[in-house]
Amino acid sequence: MTYALSRTARLALATLAFASLAGASHAQQGKLKVGLMLPFSGTYTALGVAIENGFRLGVEQQGGKLGGREIEYVKVDDESDPAKATDNVNKLIKRDNVDVIVGTVHSGVAMAMAKAAKESGTVLIVPNAGADAVTGPMCAPNIFRSSFSNWQPAYAMGEVAGKQEKKKTAITITWKYAAGDESVSGFKEGFEKAGGQVTKQLNVPFPNVEFQALLTEIAAAKPDAVYAFFAGGGAVKFVKDYAAAGLDKTIPLYGPGFLTDGTLDAQGASAQGILTTLHYADGLNTPRDTAFRTAYAKSFKLQPDVYAVQGFDAAQMLGIGLAAVKGDIGKKAEFASAIEKARIDSPRGAFSVGKSHNPVQDIYLRKVDGKENKLVSIAAKALADPARGCRM
């Protein structure tokens, strides 16, 4: 009896001891551990892959080392699932002891990551998720973003719709989730400032794509314009359904770039002529952009998109910070201030990060022409997110 108990007890203690040690690895001044928490499965897989590609290209172009240190990658598939987000990011921080976290696409997951990073002090660079909160109430000295905030392209579109296109009334339609809500309120702010009025705000539960009833609503209300925020498959369906209802001929459709980015093949004729705003466009024709596009196409046999650019710039930001602290990621204050003072030479055009660590950048107005989102003009120059609620 006693023998059996103590044997089990010994086994249990041994397991626990081993488990305790398993977590206790030290990060020396050897390789820099970068945790890539991105969607490697699910609807956003292509985006996750593009961001990783862009990041790796960025590291490669800086000589394969950042701040004199080689990079060791640890990848976690976040499956775009906010429910697992906390556990996944804790794996990176506590089990794998990464020095830097790069991620992610889905705003809900990014919020959980930001909360964990804020608490542990680990450097987090967000290469896509536009949730205003990440550089708003959740902002922190160790959290940076290389992409955009949902407010930015939306506000720019609102201004364009009111001032340039001279629309007076608009109806917005989007999925009922944070990105959609923030985009719509950004548009509303810009549109109302330009003298317009948003008469109705329609919502579709995420990720539902049954738009028929709401399109009927829009047709009956006859606004001057419609602002829609959808991405991926939803964007494809919406633009096609909009055209099928004959609305593309009577009521112009506006949206942030996601409405027509990566979807033009599927949308075909229904998307032609749609105006969108984004911090990137096809046909920028700057030397930096052309060089980036060529290098990317050569390395990955794919055309780059805005997500690849964001990943690339994340690597640039990390490089700038690490160079300033000579690879010692522990020097958080110097790391942050180096990035704050820098001007990042991005394929999208040069930008700097504001006080809240969100890019202050030009927003371009683009028009769908064939299979490209062609640059028309600059919708807003050096637009900074108001970073409401950020206390840094």
Binding site: A19, A24, D81, P82, A83, A179, F206
Partner: protein, 316 residues
């Protein structure tokens, strides 16, 4: 060994309490998660194992407890003395509403109706401004009470452990009480209980509300642990998983709920770790699905059932 059997749960709790300071942060986090899920599973055990009511919507009460905690925390954080009863109370209130309506049905209807009501709650948090929509909301400051500050990981561990011990103790008491005996009678033969003059509906509703309240407790602890909540906490996948836990562990035993919670969480973890299953880790849904089917088909009495079969004198 057998003489120690009734004390085993208490011994485990003491062991955990002693081990807490030496566990690595990752393992400690994991153990806290499993303890919270154990409370969640125990609350369902009251419904399914003790009363025989198969609910496929239990995650709703878990999620409501979690959301209530975060929403009432505001920007300055809140006191445990306020937030804990609030979480349990809101979960219990919704359980009262759902139970009052669903208990008018039986069998398969009951299963489908509890599922549907959980979906209703899910949509409230997913689609409306109440929560933060599908991305969820985060808590600025974790709850405190005097010296007990849940921002401190070590304190968190002990608070969760204490809650688990209290929950287990409460349910063990319920089991031994007249109330528990009535529930057992209802599980075995409802008709007979009604004929014997018991207010069956009332007993079932009481069990339903108590189970909801305890799930709310688990939700409160989860919110305190993660600092972030999202609507998926109320999703039916969560309801299905907690049901799986108690089957896996063994229905009808309180320890079964805890064993099931541990086993299921470990199973999920192992099936998605490359170190253990190699390339299959990316297809964890397939392996998990097959594992579930196999377990339920081959081990209807759960893990405790295996132990019972192996032990020669058939002790439970």
């Amino acid at each position: 060994m057998r003489r120690l059997d009734p004390f085993l749960p208490l011994l485990c709790a003491v062991a955990l309490a002693l081990l807490a300071p030496v566990l690595s942060p990752y393992v400690s986090d994991f153990v806290v998660k499993v303890m919270i899920l154990s409370i969640f599973a125990l609350s369902l055990e009251l419904l399914v194992g003790m009363t025989g009511l198969v609910s496929l919507g239990h995650a709703a009460f878990y999620g409501i407890g979690a959301y209530a905690t975060v929403l009432a925390s505001g920007t300055e954080g809140g006191s445990i003395a306020l937030l804990l009863p609030l979480a349990m109370g809101s979960a219990a209130a919704y359980a009262l509403f759902v139970g009052a309506l669903s208990l008018r049905t039986r069998g398969v209807y009951f299963i489908m109706v509890t599922l549907a009501f959980a979906q209703m709650a899910y949509f409230v948090f997913h689609d409306t401004k109440v929560g933060g929509g599908s991305d969820g909301i985060y808590m600025y400051v974790r709850p405190t009470l005097g010296a007990i500050d849940m921002e401190n990981r070590g304190v968190q561990f002990y608070v969760v452990l204490a809650a688990l011990v209290a929950c287990y103790g409460l349910l063990a008491l319920v089991r031994r009480s007249r109330f528990g005996a009535a529930l057992a009678g209802i599980r075995v033969n409802e008709q007979r209980m009604r004929a014997a003059g018991f207010a069956v509906y009332g007993y079932k509703l009481a069990a339903f509300v108590l189970a909801g309240a305890l799930a709310g407790l688990a939700g409160f602890l989860l919110a305190a642990r993660d600092g972030v909540v999202n609507p998926e906490l109320l999703a039916w996948h969560n309801s299905g998983e907690v049901l799986l836990m108690i089957i896996l562990g063994g229905l009808g035993h309180l320890r079964g709920a805890i064993i099931g919670a541990v086993a299921f969480t470990l199973l999920k973890e192992l099936l998605s770790t490359h170190g253990f299953v190699g390339p299959l880790a990316d297809h964890w849904q397939l392996t998990l699905g097959i594992a579930i089917i196999a377990f339920v088909a081959l081990l209807p009495k759960g893990i405790i059932g295996i132990a019972a079969r192996l032990s020669p004198k058939g002790s439970t």
